[in-house]
């Protein structure tokens, strides 16, 4: 199928669960829709080796359910990726977009957990890179190249992922404040502390801000109690929360918006107060990985010109941090550059040309119109 599309120069749009279908630059409609829907098997689960091989179209939630029986998980929790959220985000889609959730604080992004990949290129080549063991440096790391490439280099057929044990107990330390500087100070204190939370997030909505740190393991409470003290010292009103799943699921859900626009800010942890103040100025709500400098800002409903001007305002205030528009109404996507630019664009174009010579894989949706 890929070979035929390549040979005939027909534009292919690759689709998993379709949850991030609208992301990227507006582009000409595809001539061929390729769905990974039927590639939905758990090919291998090597429990003792903490690895698993999945076909790309496997719903992420189903992969997690299968692993949970062995007390394991893929340590990624992107939106639409948990059991109970429907068979929506697929493993291939999560890898292709590099999407992640609060677990990123400890475990990293898809790029950090992918061990191997099988891809189909537009000339019909089916190639594999990486391996099935958690440590391997043989050959170029094409798995990382394809992770986050939005299907513009080829179709991800199969991935090998590293697994982690599912921690037994969780408890969350939460601190509340309406002061961006206090929230920033609190988040920084936790991020630099030696207690090692599994997740460290911030949220902001209508003047109400929270810093939250989740602890897991055999004795999670001790670390959480220490962090409550750190939060209090920064001027936050802090406490422990034991039944904390809802809270973290809210954080995940708020990375997405059905009607408004979501801007992902690649900032620096030390600039969190500035990011929070920017959100406040444009009336946006925000969730973020406070220790990593990543934030998802939701600019609520509003008319198109207002959303567009607010996006530009956020970019102006946070320059030079990359601010990528993820969810947004189609009219807004037409009017803003969703990715921003990147200095390495010429090299990226060279990579694209080598892997997708005919230029048929998801053309136009990526950075610089790749």
């Amino acid at each position: 199928m890929m070979r035929a599309a390549g040979a005939e120069g027909r534009r292919v749009r690759i689709r998993g669960g379709g949850t991030k279908w609208s992301w990227g630059r507006p582009a000409e409609p595809p001539e061929v829709d390729v769905s990974t829907e039927r590639l939905d098997r758990v090919v291998e689960h090597n429990e003792g080796d903490l690895t698993a091989v999945f076909e790309a179209g496997l719903p992420f939630a189903r992969a997690q359910e299968a692993l949970a029986n062995a007390g394991q998980m893929v340590a990624l929790d992107p939106p639409f990726g948990l059991p109970g959220e429907g068979d929506r985000a697929t493993i291939g889609g999560v890898v292709a977009t590099g999407d992640s959730g609060p677990l990123r604080h400890r475990y990293g992004a898809p790029r950090d957990l992918i061990l191997g990949i099988t891809v189909a290129l537009s000339d019909g080549t089916v190639a594999r890179a990486g391996g099935k063991v958690i440590k391997n440096v043989a050959g170029y790391d094409l798995a990382k190249l394809f992770t986050g490439s939005f299907g513009t280099l080829g179709l991800i057929v199969e991935v090998v992922m590293r697994l982690h044990p599912r921690p037994p107990e969780t408890v969350t330390a939460v601190g509340v404040s309406g002061d961006p500087d206090a929230l920033g100070e609190a988040a920084s204190a936790v991020a630099h502390s030696p207690f090692g939370p599994e997740c460290l997030d911030v949220s902001w909505d209508g003047g109400h801000g929270e810093v939250m740190a989740r602890f897991v393991g055999a004795a999670p409470e001790a670390g959480a109690r220490e962090v409550v003290k750190l939060l209090e010292r920064a001027g936050l009103d802090a406490r422990l929360a034991a039944d904390d799943d809802d809270r973290w699921n809210r954080q995940r859900a708020r990375q997405r918006s059905a009607d408004g626009a979501v801007v992902r800010v690649s900032g620096l942890a030390s600039e969190l107060p500035k990011v929070l103040r920017s959100a406040r100025e444009v009336g946006a709500s925000l969730v973020g990985r406070a220790g990593l400098g990543l934030s998802w800002m939701t600019l609520g409903e509003g008319d198109v010109p207002e959303l567009v001007s607010n996006i530009e305002e956020v970019r102006r205030r946070l320059h030079p941090f990359p601010c990528v528009v993820l969810d947004a109404p189609a009219e807004v996507r037409e009017k803003v550059e969703v990715w921003g630019d990147d200095g390495a664009l010429p090299l990226m174009r060279r990579v694209k040309a080598r892997f997708d010579g005919p230029g048929v894989c998801n053309p136009g949706i990526f950075v610089g119109g790749i």
């Binding site: 080549t125 440590k135 391997n136 190249l145 030696p194 990528v324």
Partner: protein, 483 residues
């Protein structure tokens, strides 16, 4: 031979004292950590800045002369061995830490800052987790090229998980800035693509690294066992209990003997294997898990245990492990280090095969093992002064690697392919896979001037049309042969 005008150009760029053409001076650089391979460079040049690197590479591009970048030369796969009639770009003068941004847990360095210097610059509150045993001398540039690992990979990951930004010089002399201090910059993950590319995609002149806070507590404990299989089972039980220790290492009897001879770290030499486990995390977490590990040691028949009572003893326990390769000199005048990886659950069966092969060839094979992630370092002991022993040791080494690949593993976990293992690439990858690698190579370096002859098993051109489909070598497991 390098054209005189090019030599003049280099002298002009770097100053005459930083261009080496004397045959004797060049001998210093004819080899790296893979000592039995040697190729003299035609010329070595020692730039003092990123811009000098750019000018050198640009000059090479103009003259279509290949080059190899080199850091400390501690690599174990021959990745920094010069190419004949090529230029060796020695980066040792680029050794400055440019910025320590502890607020954002980032450090920006030139390529020849040593690995150990990073942790030193951010300690004692923070550290840089990838810790190859050569960390006191091996450089970050080399670590980036090889995607270096170390003892703490099982929990903390590899170099690639800690590089967030790179400034690289491409082989046409262009400079590209990839990533930065921020995560998830838009576009392809060219940082992740470059790390581990073994010097074939360009030269990193500026590297941004992520560092991480030191944990509140550490517990380092050693269990001694009669057999390596028992130690392996203990590892299985630890992982099965849902623990992710900071480090899990196994040394076999021969390795313990060698290392104890040198470091006198207090390991008993009459045991079959030592299993070192290091836990880190909050004190409460460490306490809870400590008892679990000790119970697992006991359950698997540990004949004794040792717990680090303080930081000095912790350092001593690790000193012995980190000295394992070097100490092997006490056991054998020559040894050949392998770096293959297996799915950890196949340990017992692979060790049996290695043992069998070792007997067949009549060479002792010592085993040091990053047990958490399945990375084996079999050390084949031989005597190069005896006719044919090197060749036979290489052959045995190759067979060990193939046995690991057949068990579902990899030819290299952290040392890289380089020259040493390029012929073994076909045991892991099909022609189509290799062609896909070549596409990347050609995107970065269409003239293939950067470290040519490494990684890929056979020379190939850019722009070559991928060949027809062939059966994957793994489907025909066992037919591949080295040389």
């Amino acid at each position: 031979m390098i054209d005189d005008r090019l030599v003049e150009r280099f002298r002009h760029i770097c100053g005459p004292e930083h261009v080496l053409t004397d045959r004797h001076e060049l001998r210093t650089y004819e080899s790296d950590g893979l000592r039995h391979y040697r190729t003299p460079a035609a010329l070595a040049v020692l730039p003092g800045s990123a811009d000098e690197v750019r000018q050198i590479v640009l000059a090479c591009h103009g003259a279509k002369v290949p080059w190899v970048a080199r850091g400390a030369g501690t690599g174990l796969s021959g990745g920094a061995i010069p190419v004949e009639d090529g230029v060796l770009v020695v980066l040792t003068r680029l050794n400055r830490i440019l910025e320590v941004d502890l607020d954002n847990q980032r450090v920006v360095v030139e390529p020849c800052v040593t690995n150990a210097a990073i942790s030193k610059a951010v300690g004692p509150t923070h550290f840089y987790p990838p810790d190859p045993s050569s960390q006191v001398v091996s450089t970050i540039g080399g670590n980036v090229a090889e995607n270096a690992g170390g003892l703490h990979c099982f929990k903390y990951g590899f170099t690639t998980n800690y590089v967030t930004g790179l400034e690289i010089v491409l082989s046409d002399g262009e400079v590209a800035t990839l990533g930065g201090k921020e995560l998830d910059r838009p576009g392809y993950d060219l940082v992740g693509t470059f790390v581990g590319s073994e010097g074939t995609l360009g030269i990193a002149t500026r590297i941004t690294l992520r560092v991480t806070p030191e944990a509140e507590g550490h517990r380092t404990m050693v269990g001694y066992f009669d057999s390596i299989e028992q130690a392996g089972q203990a590892v299985t039980d630890i992982v099965g209990a849902g623990m992710v220790p900071a480090a899990i290492e196994i040394m076999d009897k021969l390795t313990i003997e060698a290392t104890e001879n040198w470091t006198h770290a207090g390991y008993p030499v009459d045991v079959g294997a030592a299993l070192i486990v290091e836990l880190d995390g909050s004190e409460a977490e460490c306490d809870a898990r400590f008892d679990d590990v000790m119970e697992i040691y006991e359950r698997n028949g540990a004949t004794g245990t040792r717990v680090a009572e303080d930081e000095d003893e912790r350092a001593l326990i690790w000193k012995a492990r980190k000295a394992a390769f070097a100490a092997m000199g006490y056991v054998s005048p020559y040894y050949y280090v392998q770096d293959s990886v297996i799915p950890r659950t196949r340990l017992a069966e692979v060790l049996k095969r290695i043992d069998g092969l070792s007997r067949d060839y009549g060479f002792k094979v010592a085993n040091v093992f990053h047990a958490g992630d399945g990375n084996l370092h079999p050390l084949v002991c031989y005597d190069a002064r005896k006719e044919g022993e090197l060749e036979r040791a290489e052959e045995l080494s190759g067979k060990i690697v193939l046995a690991c690949v057949e068990a579902g593993g990899s030819i290299t976990g952290e040392h890289g392919v380089g020259l040493d293992k390029k012929q073994l690439m076909t045991a892991m990858f099909s022609e189509q896979d290799l062609q896909a690698f070549q596409r990347l190579r050609c995107a970065f370096d269409p003239d293939q001037l950067a470290n040519p002859g490494k990684v890929m098993p056979t020379p190939r051109l850019c722009g070559e049309v991928p060949g027809p489909y062939r059966k994957h070598p793994l489907e025909q497991a066992g037919v591949a042969e080295r040389f």
